[in-house]
């Protein structure tokens, strides 16, 4: 039975192209409670939540969203299989390469001296954009 979403204080996650919370509920989600080191990878049909870092050389591929509760330094692919509404959330967003659906991006060459704050990457108007993450009304 589906949980009652109208009551209670559900956090409104942006992402999924701004879908309602229930859209987040119907997919599989896996919780990974460790750091992904170089050479380690996760492939999952659904959402992936990592409580730890993704180090350079590590790889996360998910057909849904990817949440990294730590430093994202490796390769991440959200929406693998073509879901353009998937998003990547990271407390520290510094991926080697970031892919969403069929879009592939990487950080610009040179020193990165942008702010180190929680960020979200998703597709807007056909391009991947990275914005500061704030829960609630933003989107």
């Amino acid at each position: 039975m589906a949980p009652d979403l109208t009551s209670g204080n559900l956090v409104q996650f942006p992402g999924k192209g701004g879908g309602e919370p229930e859209e987040m509920m119907d997919e599989n989600t896996v919780l990974v409670q460790r750091t992904l080191r170089s050479g380690q990878s996760i492939y999952f049909d659904g959402n992936v939540v990592i409580v730890g870092d993704v180090n350079p050389g590590g790889e996360v591929v998910a057909t849904g969203n990817v949440v990294v509760m730590g430093y994202l330094r490796g390769v991440v692919h959200a929406g693998a299989g073509g879901n353009e509404k998937a998003a990547v959330y990271a407390f520290r967003m510094r991926p080697t390469q970031l892919r969403i659906a069929n879009h592939i991006t990487r950080a610009p060459d040179g020193d990165d001296n942008g702010p180190i704050v929680p960020e979200i990457a998703r597709i807007k108007d056909g391009t991947v954009v990275i914005e500061t993450f704030s829960s609630g009304s933003e989107r």
């Binding site: 080191r37 170089s38 050479g39 380690q40 870092d53 180090n55 350079p56 050389g57 430093y71 330094r73």
Partner: protein, 264 residues
Amino acid sequence: MGEVIVITSGKGGVGKTTTSANLGAGLASLGDKVCLIDADIGLRNLDVVMGLENRIVYDLVDVTSGNCSFRKAMIKDKRFENLFLMPAAQTKDKTAVSPEQMRALTEEIKSEFDYVIIDCPAGIEQGFRNAISGANQAIVVTTPEVSAVRDADRIIGLLEKEDLREPKLVINRMRYQMVKHGDMMSIDDIIDILAVDLLGVVPDDEQVVISTNRGEMVVMNDSSRSGQAYRNIVRRIKGEDIPMMNLEEEGGFFRKLRQIIGLK
């Protein structure tokens, strides 16, 4: 029952063999009975670094294949009564030994020693799997270079898979001047990525090269900074709480260093 410690790194040339020889000699100098095993079959170096090459009669492969007992293959060090070396075979390759044989061998050896230190070959193939199979502790050696740190990260992941959790880190060939000028990764940068306990930092030192070429261990050189660093590491292995060396005159860096240690 002794501790079996594997010294590994993934990348070659970061100082596994030097670290093995110095930690072995350091522990032996404090009175422990130590056995060093060279697991780098086909590319043996540990005997050369220790200046014992000309004493080898039997080797590791002779022991695992049942040609002789491990006591027969073991070479007593010329400086320390209680330091022994099990040399690798030079004419064979890594496939001459299996992880099961290594496990059985270390199981047999550790009952007679306080510490068994295994010098692991570079790479992540069979040589690596052989070397770690009998160990119950791991020391990962890295240098302040992105490639070495990347490989160390991979190795830590593989060690965790083999149930060698919480490996300790030795950062070798640190050049403090370069760190100060922002030209080299700092200890903080490395710990930030690898997230493991720091066992010690060995400064870049010409003395290491000089003593290695002579078949001596720098840990016995009282005046060298790297020797002091290795002596500190040895005492930390034995469970003493030794503060990190002050290798920089200025306080700023050392304070930072202390913060790292304080985090543990």
